[in-house]
Structure formats: structure tokens, C-alpha cells
């Protein structure tokens, strides 16, 4: 028994030692394993940590570049004329797509693209690629329903003109990348433009955005531009011009409304118009702003400047008389005719009846140098500096080159070319008492937060004639619209209108055409405190061609509706009802008194 016990004890000791050894082996094995893992962990974290972190970042973080929102263009009453609308563009990360064929087929169907081309594009691109830019909200909704991986909806901006064709020639338009191509959009492109911005987009392992907003819009935008154009006056001018142009089947038409005291353009209408939302569908010829870019022969409207030159130099008075040769007068070998034959006319009557011979006779008194100097003083032959692109300086050759007939022709507005805005600026100088203002179309540039960036209205006016001369010329211009004058169709009952008609033959194949005319009317009202100056030009009207017949009624309509809209107090208000209302108010008030 004892022996066997000893044997058992020996076996147990052996077993115990073997177990301990095995335990030790396992412990050592796991210790080595843990040491390897710990060593690897230290290696990964300490030695490779930065590199791996950057690798991970590059997989989860991506920089996207998107354009900012272009600034808004407002009218003088802060109504939107041009705005940027958010639209969605579709991009893709082909790497994240499982089945490119399926994606291509589905997208091609919704977006109207070629499935094969799209599939090739996805297969050949490794990083980001655009699928289609500026897609419709309906297409966006449909594509989102597919829940396809690897697609990116990026917010972009599209230019939109809520008033369609209203003031289209003034505002202009932009290309698909938001760059101004015409009008204020072009002229103030730098102010309106918002530079592209970079956005960090973080995504999780499933490609879901994290801490990044949809479309990455942060609301950064360019400055806003406030125009002097009043949307309502613009509409009134466009409507009157369109009606007149259609009535007389004119080729083109222009109407400009200006505040003569500041040079601010209140409206600038053109016929025919175009819709800047779809400018590509219109002939390029219709895009330019003819009131700024196109010179034309002003005709008799320039006689007003001639009269101003003579009166300012005290060479004549409004009552000085000239013999008008019964309608035909030879100047330097050329014959000048009047529409009606006249004998003796005063300076005032020469303007009132628009006598060409009378104008030539006045120019013989002033001489070519004074006439030229006065015309240049009034801004003809050089840019007015209006903040619109493509301004023409007009054509006014140096007086040293003028022949006798040239001086005579220029005195009644032929042989010289002006832009519509030049002529209206000059007439406005007469209206405001002799100061030549710089015409402008932009009031101010304002930052998105409302702070003023640039005030465009500060200017130093240039005196071109004395107040006394301006008053005399205003009297003469008022007579044009009075009974018997050529501009009687522009007369208003409640305001005294000052104006001048213009009918200029157009040059056709190097000669003055017998049947192509430019008909115009320029003027302002009310006479004693002018608030509005208007110029209407109709190019090649049919059936009639005199400025007093074709352009004066449109002028009258514009100036009447504008003064009415601006609440300008009537000068000649003898309406009995007005007095009655005032009396009734007085009676009522008196009745309440104790």
C-alpha cells in the first residue's frame, strides 16, 4: 500500500509539473502574441499614425468648389429686376458606385442623356465628374428616389429675370457660368460676381454626409446693385413705345426718361424687346441698348441747342427776326427747303415751326465756331460717361473741317450724329437751368448685409448756359407745344410741356433717303419745375414721318402717365371738382368748431 502511494505521489508531481509547464507555455505564447500586437499598435499609432490619419481623411474628406450667388439687381424702389435662383447640378464619384451600368441607365432615362456615353464617362473617371449641370427640381426628386450610391447633388445658381423683357436692354444678361454679357450685368460684373468658394465635405463609411449641409450652400454672395430705373415708369415707357412703334410700323424705337435735375435714368425702353431669360432665342441685333450704342441724326431737335448758343452769346433775342425765303434757300451751292414756306419769323417762331432756313440763318449769325463749341459743351461728340457698356460718342467733326453747307445742315440736326442719351442729357441741362448732369443708371452698390459699398450718384455738374438763357430756351420750347407749334400733339392740359420735334432723313446708300426717316420728340415737364425729361425716337415709321405726328403722342403718353405716377402737382389745375372738395373739407372743419 505504502509503495503504491509513493508511486501515485510521484505521478501526481509529474502531472503537476507538466501542467505548470503547459500553463507557462500558453502564457508565454499569449504574452508573445500580446507583445506583437502591442508592438504593432505602437508602430501603427506612433510611427505610422500621421500617415494613416491622412489616408483616412482623404477617404472621408473631400473639398468641393462651388460658385457663390451673384448679387441681385434692384430698381429704384428696391424691386427685384435680376435675381439668382438656386438650382441643382448632378455630379458623381464613380469609385463609390457598385453597378455603373445600372446607374448610367437610370440617370440617362431621367436626364435625357445617352446611356452608353454616360456609362463610358463613369467607367473612365476615377474621381469626381459632372453628370449634368442645372437640372430641374423634378429630375432631382426622381433621382433621389433611386438612392444610388456615389451621386453628388451640388447647389449652383441660375440667373432669373422675374419681369421677363422689362428693361432687358438695360439689365442685360449673363452666360451659364454667371458672367455678365450685356447691360448692367456686364458693366457691374465685378460688383455682382461672387468668387468661387471651397467646401470641406466629410462622409462616413457609407458615404453619408457628416457635418456638411446639403449642396454646400453657405449663402455667400456678390454685392447688390440698385438702379435708378423705376420698374413702373419703365413699364409705362415700354408700353407707350411699343404701341406707337406698332401703330406706325417702325423698325426700331427708343424711349428714355430722365430726371433732369440729377441725370438719373428713370426708364430706358426699346422696341423690339427680348426676354433675357431666353436671350439665345433672339437675334443678337436685338440685345444691344440702342439708346447708348447707336448714333443717329437728331434732326430739328438740335435747333434748341442752336438757339441756346445764339442767346447765350447775346447775339440774338427770342424776338429777333429772320427772313425765311419763302421755303427755299441756297447755301453754298446746296438748296435747303422748309416744309411750309415762311417769310419773316422770330427766333421763337423758327423753333416753333421748325424752320430749317431759319436755323441756317441763325447759324450764319453764330458762326461755326460758336455752334461747335456750344455743341461740345452740351456733350455732343464725346461720351457722356453713363455706366452702360458700348457707349457711342456720336459723330461731330471738328468745325475747322465744316463747309458752309455743313454748318447749315448741323444747325438743323443733319450731318451730325448723337446718341439718345446724349440728346436727352443736353435737353435736361436746359430743363434744370443750365447744368449738364452726368447721366447714370446705377444709384448704388450695396453689400449683402445692406452696407453701402459705392454711391454712384455723387457728381459735379457742369454749367453750360446761364439760368437766364435756359429760361428763354424753355419759353421757346413751350411755344413748340402750344397751339400752332409742331409739337402740339405733346401738350398736356394740367402741365406746361416744353419740347421739340425732330424729323431726320436717314442716309441710304450714301445719300439722304426720300422715304426713310427718324422721327423724334424730346422735352420735359412741368416747365417751371421740371421733374421728367423724355425722348422718343421711332426709326423708319410708315404712313407718317413727322416727329410731331409719330413721336409726340407717345411722348405725351409717357410724360402724362409718369407725372401722374410720381404725384407731381399740376401747374394748370382749374378743375372745379378739386376746388369743391377743398371747400367741402373747409366747411366740414369749420362746422366742428365751437
Amino acid at each position: 500500500m505504502k509503495t503504491s502511494y509513493r508511486i501515485k505521489t510521484n505521478n501526481s508531481e509529474k502531472n503537476g509539473k507538466s501542467l505548470a509547464a503547459r500553463e507557462m507555455a500558453v502564457a508565454v505564447f499569449f504574452s508573445i502574441l500580446f507583445l506583437i500586437i502591442a508592438g504593432r499598435a505602437v508602430h501603427v499609432h506612433v510611427f505610422q499614425g500621421t500617415w494613416l490619419a491622412e489616408q483616412a481623411k482623404s477617404q472621408y474628406n473631400k473639398y468641393m468648389v462651388t460658385c457663390g450667388k451673384r448679387g441681385t439687381i434692384y430698381d429704384a424702389k428696391n424691386q427685384e429686376l435680376a435675381v439668382s435662383l438656386e438650382v441643382t447640378s448632378l455630379g458623381a464619384f464613380p469609385k463609390r458606385m457598385d453597378d455603373k451600368k445600372e446607374v448610367a441607365n437610370k440617370l440617362a432615362k431621367v436626364l435625357g442623356l445617352n446611356a452608353w456615353d454616360l456609362r463610358k464617362k463613369l467607367q473612365n473617371t476615377t474621381s469626381f465628374t459632372w453628370i449634368k449641370r442645372k437640372i430641374s427640381p423634378k429630375a432631382v426628386a426622381e433621382i433621389k428616389k433611386f438612392k444610388l450610391p456615389g451621386l453628388e447633388f451640388v447647389a449652383e445658381h441660375n440667373r432669373f429675370y422675374p419681369n421677363r423683357g422689362l428693361a432687358a436692354h438695360v439689365i442685360g444678361f449673363t452666360d451659364t457660368d454667371g458672367k455678365g454679357l450685356e447691360g448692367v450685368e456686364f458693366q457691374y460684373d465685378q460688383e455682382l460676381y461672387s468668387a468661387p468658394d471651397k467646401f470641406l465635405v466629410t462622409r462616413d463609411a457609407r458615404g453619408k454626409r457628416f457635418n456638411t449641409s446639403d449642396g454646400y450652400t453657405t449663402g455667400f454672395q456678390g454685392n447688390n446693385v440698385v438702379l435708378t430705373i423705376d420698374r413702373q415708369i419703365q413699364y409705362l415707357a415700354e408700353k407707350a413705345l411699343n404701341d406707337a412703334a406698332k401703330e406706325f410700323q417702325a423698325r426700331y424705337g427708343t424711349a428714355v426718361v430722365m430726371n433732369p435735375n440729377t441725370g438719373a435714368i428713370l426708364a430706358m425702353a426699346q422696341y423690339p424687346g427680348f426676354n433675357p431669360n431666353a436671350f439665345g432665342k433672339y437675334n443678337k441685333d436685338l440685345w444691344r441698348n440702342r439708346a447708348i450704342t447707336d448714333p443717329y441724326e437728331p434732326g430739328s431737335t438740335l435747333k434748341v441747342i442752336l438757339a441756346a448758343a445764339a442767346l447765350e452769346a447775346h447775339l440774338l433775342t427770342p424776338t429777333s427776326s429772320f427772313y425765311c425765303e419763302n421755303g427755299s434757300y441756297r447755301v453754298g451751292g446746296n438748296k435747303v427747303n422748309d416744309t411750309h414756306p415762311y417769310e419773316w419769323l422770330t427766333v421763337q417762331q423758327i423753333i416753333k415751326y421748325s424752320s430749317n432756313i431759319g436755323a441756317v440763318k441763325i447759324s450764319e449769325i453764330t458762326g461755326k465756331t460758336l455752334l461747335y463749341e456750344t455743341l461740345t459743351d452740351f456733350g455732343f461728340g464725346k461720351n457722356t460717361g453713363i455706366d452702360c457698356p458700348g457707349e457711342t460718342p456720336g459723330i461731330l467733326s471738328n468745325c475747322k473741317k465744316w463747309r458752309t453747307i455743313d454748318t447749315g445742315a448741323i444747325s438743323f440736326g443733319q450731318g451730325v450724329s448723337v446718341s439718345a442719351v446724349q440728346l436727352l442729357t443736353a435737353i435736361s441741362a436746359i430743363a434744370n437751368g443750365g447744368n449738364l448732369m452726368k447721366p447714370h443708371i446705377v444709384q448704388s452698390v450695396v453689400a449683402p448685409d445692406g452696407t453701402l459699398v459705392k454711391n454712384c450718384e455723387t457728381q459735379s455738374p457742369k454749367r453750360v448756359i446761364s439760368t437766364e438763357t435756359a429760361e428763354k430756351v424753355k419759353e421757346i420750347m413751350a411755344s413748340v407745344v402750344a397751339e400752332g407749334g409742331t409739337g402740339v400733339n405733346a401738350a398736356l392740359s394740367k402741365y406746361t410741356v416744353c419740347g421739340k420735334t425732330g424729323t431726320a432723313q436717314k442716309i441710304d446708300s450714301g445719300r439722304y433717303s426720300a422715304d426713310k426717316y427718324n422721327s423724334s420728340f424730346v422735352g420735359f415737364a412741368p416747365k417751371n419745375n421740371p421733374q421728367v425729361a423724355v425722348l422718343v425716337i421711332l426709326d423708319e415709321p410708315k404712313n407718317a414721318h413727322y416727329g410731331g405726328t409719330v413721336a409726340a403722342p407717345a411722348f405725351k403718353r409717357i410724360i402724362h402717365e409718369t407725372l401722374n405716377y410720381m404725384n407731381v402737382e399740376p401747374e394748370n389745375d382749374n378743375n372745379d371738382d378739386t376746388i369743391l372738395l377743398a371747400q367741402r373739407f373747409e366747411t366740414k372743419r369749420d362746422g366742428v368748431k365751437p
Partner: protein, 94 residues
């Protein structure tokens, strides 16, 4: 007795340490999960904000479109029979 008490104390320390470690692990995990959830919520709210801002802009444009003078004039003339008054139709209140 003394040895048994020490052994219990040691075990208790280990248990407490384990519990603390486990709790720390849970708290850390919870805070990370919360951080991620808030991140997603933030993204969602930013999306919502952008959507509302975009909607507001669209409404402003729609208002500008509806207030377009030619549209107002057409409604005034065609539906209401109104016209711009002639000179003799205007009364002045002084």
C-alpha cells in the same frame, strides 16, 4: 482572518477597477455615439435651413414675378376694366 480580509479587499479593488473601466468604456462609447448622432442631426438641420432659405428666395422671386407691372396692368384692364386715367379724369386733393 487577516489573510482572508486582505484577499477580499484585493478582489474588491479588482472588481471596482473592472467596473470603472467598463463604465469608462461605455461612457466613452456613448459620448462618441452622441457626437456622431449630433453631427448627423446638425447636417439634417443645416439641410433644413438651406431648404427654407432657398424656399424663401423662391417666394421672393415669385412675389417679384407676381408684382410685375405688365401682369398687374393686364389684370386691372382685363378682369377689372380699369384704365390709366386720362388728364380730365384726375382730381387733385390739396
Amino acid at each position: 482572518m487577516g489573510n482572508g480580509y486582505d484577499s477580499v479587499n484585493k478582489n474588491l479593488v479588482w472588481v471596482v477597477l473592472l467596473v470603472v473601466m467598463t463604465l469608462e468604456l461605455f461612457i466613452f462609447t456613448w459620448s462618441r455615439v452622441q457626437c456622431t448622432t449630433v453631427g448627423y442631426a446638425l447636417t439634417h438641420q443645416q439641410d433644413e435651413n438651406n431648404h427654407l432659405v432657398s424656399l424663401k428666395k423662391k417666394l421672393i422671386i415669385e412675389r417679384a414675378h407676381l408684382r410685375a407691372p405688365d401682369r398687374i396692368a393686364a389684370i386691372a384692364q382685363e378682369r377689372m376694366g380699369l384704365n390709366i386715367p386720362e388728364q380730365n379724369q384726375i382730381l387733385t386733393l390739396r
